[in-house]
């Protein structure tokens, strides 16, 4: 009988994986973006910020990944959680929005992207591990939303998500004010991301900033790079003869190892 392909997740192999794990086989981890992502509404637009570290357990898999994803010309989305999930969720909704725009003939609205994302995530009941900050500007003005993996959303003037969200929220709660200028908003976002980078182990490397306003989008990739790697100034090159040779012993390999040619049938 043919297996019906009904779409969605296939959990058939979960039993097998559990048995394998019990016999001692170490399962490969998946890449999570440890992450600090933030968003702030200012007078005239939205500023989104993100760090650039992608982790696979304790290892940094990517030191300069991009966490601010394009959704539409006027809408961008920061993603925390499993990198594959945030990437594919945002790409799917970006594609659906383009088709929606072509079929309606109207400029895309932020709440359209929000509704599409939340309905998809709710349908998958939290198995798609994508925690998103959606920001954009449309006919109703600038707006900023958080979307949690289970599908709930909040609309707020300033938001933080990811493992570094507590560090970043501390900066926001201390320094946010209404109707900031663009420069103040960018500085505040950079400070909040830096707080996440330096106080959270899951976040690190550089600060990415994206500014969305009515006149357009400004992408400030690697706006700050406070963690550039350092190179050695004096190379380790020493003159021949610096280390004295006391004894030398040369033995050809054939005295230690037998090399044979075997004919494969």
């Amino acid at each position: 009988m043919e297996h019906l392909n009904r779409g969605g997740f296939d959990f058939d192999l979960c039993n097998r994986n559990n048995v394998l794990e019990k016999t001692g086989l170490k399962m490969k981890g998946f890449m999570k973006t440890g992450t600090t992502i933030v968003g702030v509404v200012y007078k005239g637009g939205v500023v989104l910020g993100a760090d650039t570290r992608a982790t696979e357990g304790p290892i940094v898999a990517d030191k300069n990944c991009e966490k601010i994803h394009y959704i539409a010309d006027n809408i961008y989305c920061c993603g925390a959680g499993t990198a594959a999930d945030t990437e594919s969720a945002t790409a799917l909704i970006s594609s659906k929005l383009k088709l929606h725009k072509l079929s309606t003939g109207k400029e895309t609205r932020v709440i359209t992207a929000l509704t599409m994302l939340k309905q998809m995530l709710f349908k998958y009941q939290g198995h798609i591990s994508a925690a998103l900050i959606l920001g954009g500007i449309d006919i109703n003005g600038p707006s900023l939303h958080t979307i949690y993996p289970h599908g709930s959303t909040d609309q707020l003037p300033y938001v933080t998500m990811g493992s570094g969200s507590l560090a970043a929220m501390g900066v926001f709660e201390a320094k946010y004010k209404n109707d900031m200028t663009k420069e103040e908003a960018i500085a505040l976002v950079a400070e909040a991301i830096s707080s996440g980078i330096f106080n959270d182990l899951g976040s690190g490397s550089n600060v990415d900033v994206t500014v969305i306003e009515t006149t357009g989008v400004t992408i400030l990739r690697n706006y700050q790079t406070p963690n550039e790697r350092k190179f050695r100034n004096n190379p380790y090159i020493f003159k021949q003869g610096t280390t004295p040779v006391l004894k030398q012993d040369v033995a050809p390999l054939s005295t230690k190892v037998v090399i044979e040619d075997i004919m494969m049938s």
């Binding site: 999570k32 440890g34 982790t55 357990g57 304790p58 939340k118 309905q119 995530l121 709710f122 009941q125 939290g126 925690a131 958080t146 949690y148 289970h150 599908g151 709930s152 959303t153 909040d154 707020l156 990811g162 493992s163 507590l166 959270d200 182990l201 899951g202």
Partner: protein, 214 residues
């Protein structure tokens, strides 16, 4: 790096919510705290969501579940309004909530209070609890914080209160619940619905009624 546990917890509306009927309308009230584990994800949440022009609902339980359910009910009610060519009754909205909550009870965690004004019954309050049972009550309380104020509400409630008495009753009850329940807090959001329309109010944390604080 091990991710903190609150990253994986579902977003919960810890919550204290209530609604009271008065002659000519209803008062609805809610706190404003949404938690993921021990972290407050949103300290200014709006838990009183519009379903129709004069029908609102207070949400408690899982944030994702209640948002999805109220979106569905809003959609179904709008279709119904189109076909009815008239404003819907609060009972209709409550029945739609019950239909969704009962038939999906295994997959949902949602405690909802539906309240509003319609021209047939005036103000009405319906309480739909976790299993999907619907009860019409003169006043209803819900959420984790409500457990602390059952006694207070039973002792303070009188039938046929005026609008201002009801507002004071809601404010005091919610303040007491928010004070004792860790999952409730922030500001009090009020919604006053009568035949003339809807008025929304917000009482910030420092203006809450104060009681014995030791």
């Amino acid at each position: 790096m091990e991710a903190p546990e609150w990253l994986d917890n579902a977003v919960d509306l810890g919550t204290s919510i209530m609604a009271v009927e008065f002659d000519g309308g209803v008062i609805m009230g809610a706190d404003s705290r949404t938690t993921t584990g021990a972290y407050i994800a949103n300290r200014v949440t709006n838990k009183i969501t519009p379903i129709h022009e004069r029908i609102y609902c207070c949400r408690s339980g899982s944030a994702a579940d209640t948002q999805a359910i109220s979106d569905y009910v809003r959609y179904y009610l709008e279709m119904h309004t189109s076909e009815l060519c008239d404003d819907p009754d609060v009972k209709t909205a409550a029945s739609l909530f019950q239909l969704l909550c009962y038939s999906n009870k295994n997959n949902l965690m949602a405690g909802i209070i539906v309240a509003g004004w319609d021209k047939h019954q005036g103000g009405s309050v319906y309480n739909i609890s976790l299993g999907g049972s619907m009860v019409k009550q003169p006043f209803a309380i819900g959420g984790s914080g409500s457990t602390y104020i059952y006694g207070y509400c039973d002792s303070k409630f009188k039938p046929k209160m005026t609008k201002d008495e009801c507002i004071e009753f809601v404010q005091n009850s919610l303040a007491l619940a928010m004070f004792r329940d860790g999952s409730s807090g922030g500001v009090i959001r009020l919604c006053i619905i009568d035949k003339n329309g809807v008025e929304r109010r917000m009482i910030p944390g420092n203006n809450l009624p104060r009681f014995w604080e030791g």
